[in-house]
Amino acid sequence: MKQLFVFIRKEFFHVFRDRRTLLIMFGLPVVQILLFGFALTNEVKNAHIVISDNSGDVQTLQIINKIRASSYFTVEESVLNYKAIEKAFRRGEVKCALIFPAHFSEDLKHGGKTQVQIIADGSDPNTAKTIINYLTAIITDYQQQSSSSGLAYRIIPETRMLYNEEGNGSLNFIPGVMALILMIVCTALTSVSVVKEKELGTMEILLVSPFKPVLVLIAKAVPYLVLSFANFTLIVLLSVFVLDVEIKGSVILLFVESTLFIITCLSLGLLISNATSSQQTALLLSLMGMMLPTMIFTGFMFPLENMPWIFRMISNIVPAHWYFLIIKAVMLKGLGFEYIWKETLILIGMTIALLGIALKNFKIRL
């Protein structure tokens, strides 16, 4: 037991004496959070749209004015025919078209409901999705105002932005960035620290010593588990106090689930370190092999729904994907464990598998 303790203490020395590691460890989350939070949001400002008002009555004009008033859109012109709209799209001048049918007002008054058509530029799915959300939000808003003034009618499609009413773009990124940072810190740093011993030749000594080889892995993992935990806390604090993200669910559940994911990442790191013998390879494998899939397959940067089925299939085997779903549910939707037990179970299964393979593959010889 004392041996393990001394070993773990040594690992902490390594971490605290290496400025580069510390910088990656604690500088990265800050930079990432700020970068994603402020610069790379999905928020759309002054998107150009065309409106085709085939009705031209009071109500359509009221909605158009409301759209003009918002900071999200610049209303280009009102064109009447479909061909002109298509042309505008092709030239890339507009991102979205809103089409009011003829007799908009009358339909509402007589039938109690009517439809509007929203056409968005699908070549930029993220922006399109956001614009559609904004537009529907504005229409819904108008509808609610009208309802409160006594007129009860519906405009279809009746959609509203779930869980993100204010259109706060950074919200969706937080869980993604969490997954990303934990992935980088745990996987990359753990694998590098094991491989470093191989390069130094100290691994040979440790193997030759009576120290149990498996304990080497545990001793390597413990400091990074603790540090990642601290790291996670930092990210949460940054999100809450800098980006004004409200944690809707249980904080304890959030930390428990994150600890599980940290262990997943550590297992992955140990697995990589078993398979490689140079620090460069380990780092490259962790960063390129883990970071890219995390960014692509969690769905936080690119919506999974828009991907080909094969990509969606692959995303199922990416641990970060499940963690992303869990965190989104707990943090943003405020859901309890009963809604995420399936995802949690999958993550536990993956962790056990990864850790098992890592331990089994750890060589007691060179």
């Binding site: 041996q3 070993f7 040594k10 000594i205 009576p210 010889r365 060179l366």
Partner: protein, 314 residues
């Protein structure tokens, strides 16, 4: 009982394509200072790794401290002190932290076996709080030796401990080994420097995975089958070429300021014969004498007896 024994050990890499150790057998007696002498790529490191149980041989048996390397690897691991060739300690830990760490890993403390390392540790103790990365080559080497000794091993396995270290540190290091030997520790050490062979009790000369000879340095030198001459002149390079061109000359190699020469026909008057060649080629300041061969002469001779060893390719 032999402290270390190898019997027909063979090791190949890349699915048998590269033969690293070729049917090697030798024994190191208890308390002996034994040298494994050979150039890089001779198979020294593979042998060390097999003995320290971190590598499995393809064929053959080996024991260390009486234990079998495959079956009883755990028993061996707690009984040997090992300094791998590339070993460089934890650069970001201080001398004391390194030592304490290895002591604990081997289940002991610095105090417990202080007597054994005292001699060596005292020399680096003033720098106790300096990080290993900031130490000189010689000091690192001493620290590494302390770490290998910390658990009072029965057998000390040192893989090229003096490679890349300057002459002064090398001399000090061999002094330390001699003192350790006196305390009864068996030492197996490898080196590419032939001049260090004389500091061992017995040596094995190894080349391309094969043991060419195992004996005391004295016996190896005595078994040099022919008279060896040293020759020099004002233009030594020209003399080398002139002697090599002569059909009566068996071998001629530069050795420091002299050329070492052997004749095909080992007869008396070889020195005069050589002198005549030198004079006839117009050399000046000619000096020819009979000398006792060194280990390097024997090594070269043994290598030349296996012509395939000096040809390129595998």
């Amino acid at each position: 009982m032999a402290a270390v024994s190898l019997e027909n050990i063979t090791k190949t890499y890349d699915n048998g394509k590269v033969l690293a150790v070729d049917n090697v057998s030798f024994e190191v007696k208890e308390g002996e200072l034994f040298g494994l002498i050979g150039p890089d790529g001779a198979g020294k490191t593979s042998i060390f790794r097999i003995l320290t149980t971190v590598l499995l041989a393809d064929k053959g048996q080996a024991t260390v401290a009486g234990f079998e390397v495959v079956k009883d690897y755990r028993s061996i691991r707690s009984r040997v002190g090992y300094m791998p060739g590339k070993f460089s300690l934890y650069q970001d830990l201080t001398i004391k932290e390194n030592l304490e760490f290895f002591a604990t890993v081997f289940g002991t403390t610095i105090e417990e076996n202080y007597e054994l390392i005292k001699d060596i540790y005292d020399q680096i103790k003033p720098f106790n709080d300096r990080r290993a990365g900031k130490l000189s080559g010689g000091m690192k080497q001493k620290l590494a030796l302390c770490c290998a000794l910390i658990h009072k091993p029965e057998v000390l396995l040192l893989d090229e401990p003096t490679t890349g270290v300057d002459v002064v540190s090398r001399k000090e290091f061999w002094e330390m080994l001699k003192r350790l030997k006196k305390q009864g520790i068996t030492i197996l050490v490898s080196t590419p420097y032939m001049d260090e062979a004389n500091l061992c009790e017995r040596i094995a000369l190894i080349q391309k995975g094969k043991i060419m000879s195992v004996d005391t340095p004295g016996n190896i030198i005595n078994s040099f089958p022919t008279t060896l001459y040293a020759a020099k002149s004002a233009d030594i390079y020209q003399l080398l070429n002139d002697l090599r061109a002569n059909p009566e000359i068996e071998s001629c190699y530069a050795f420091g300021e002299f050329l070492h020469v052997t004749l095909k026909d080992n007869q008396n008057g070889g020195a005069d014969f050589l002198k005549n060649i030198a004079v006839s080629k117009g050399h000046s300041e000619i000096l020819i004498k009979t000398i006792t061969p060194g280990i390097e002469d024997s090594f070269i001779r043994l290598m030349n007896e296996r012509p395939e060893e000096v040809r390129p390719g595998n």
